[in-house]
């Protein structure tokens, strides 16, 4: 998909004239062009799409080792899709840009996010996503070296008890999937039909409760860390 084609797709998105104060000249030019009309805006969108595609390809190249089964064409298709989606996001959120960074840095993060999410989802495509609320099994002696387990039985036992007693079943499932099984947060969010932000909030709350339970048992995280060294 080209920027010119996409310009038609996003023509219903309102363009507002107000520019943030203290913008650098390059960022000001980008905003003015994208908020213009007709050929000027179409040309700016084409340039923006090229910029986003470059960032998406940068991300795909960095992470391609996570997808060894994909061919170059597949990876470039993924980068193109990421750039297309990022373009729509950037144009929709143009008014959110306040000039806290250069415009190009601001738009890059949209392309990198889209590419990274697509890569993580593709890497987990067809794989079983473990959703165990039985954290006892997940946090069993198969998850760590036997020597470490023997040396740290008190710590492990305290953690297991904390996970069983202070967390809800949903918090356990999320904590085990993200922190132990290494399921990417975007993949789990799709699986649970929720957002990445909401899922991280669940993870954060579970971690806080687990920390508090350990401290109540007389094991502070720092002490545990020293013991584990």
């Amino acid at each position: 998909m080209t920027g010119a084609t996409l310009a038609g797709d996003v023509s219903t998105i309102p363009a507002k004239p107000a520019l943030p104060l203290d913008l650098d000249e390059e960022s000001r030019t980008w905003l003015r062009s994208l908020r213009d009309e007709g050929a000027v805006r179409d040309a700016a969108i084409t340039r923006l799409h090229a910029l986003l595609l470059r960032a998406a390809r940068f991300e795909v190249t960095r992470r391609r080792a996570t997808l060894p089964h994909l061919r170059g064409d597949d990876l470039d298709d993924l980068a193109q899709q990421a750039a297309d989606d990022a373009l729509v996001s950037v144009l929709r959120r143009l008014d959110d840009f306040r000039g806290a960074s250069r415009f190009t840095t601001w738009v890059y993060k949209f392309a990198l996010l889209e590419a990274a999410v697509k890569l993580r989802k593709r890497a987990w495509q067809g794989r079983e996503i473990p959703l165990e609320d039985d954290a006892w099994n997940a946090f069993s002696d198969t998850t760590m070296e036997p020597v470490a387990l023997a040396e740290q039985s008190e710590l492990v036992e305290t953690l297991r008890q904390g996970m069983e007693t202070v967390l809800t079943a949903h918090q356990r499932r999320v904590l085990v999937a993200l922190a132990i099984d290494g399921v990417p947060i975007d993949v789990l969010a799709d699986q649970l039909d929720t957002s990445r932000g909401a899922l991280y909030k669940t993870l954060h709350d579970a971690r806080r409760k687990l920390r508090a339970s350990l401290e109540a048992s007389g094991l502070t995280p720092n002490a545990m860390s020293e013991e584990s060294d």
């Binding site: 993060k109 998850t143 070296e145 387990l149 740290q152 990417p184 545990m224």
Partner: protein, 76 residues
């Protein structure tokens, strides 16, 4: 499941100790944070809680690493 180091498992279970922002705030501030880092300024003081979030969220950490590398490459 592969055997793994206890410290690593405990670290991922407990997450960062200090206050942290969420994924949405992280995304909103990431461009400013990276530019402050590249300028040699105190990005952590300017945006409290973002570094802790990067420590606790592998997805946001990946995106931070990529944005930093991309912008740093342009500045070089």
């Amino acid at each position: 499941m592969e055997p793994r180091d206890l410290n690593d498992v405990v670290g991922r279970l407990l997450g960062p100790a200090g206050p942290e922002v969420g994924c949405d705030v992280c995304f909103a501030e990431l461009d400013r944070y990276v530019e402050l880092e590249l300028a040699g300024e105190d990005a952590d003081a300017a945006i409290p809680g973002l570094r802790a979030h990067l420590d606790g969220c592998p997805a946001c950490r990946e995106e931070h690493e990529s944005l930093y590398a991309l912008v740093a490459g342009e500045s070089a």
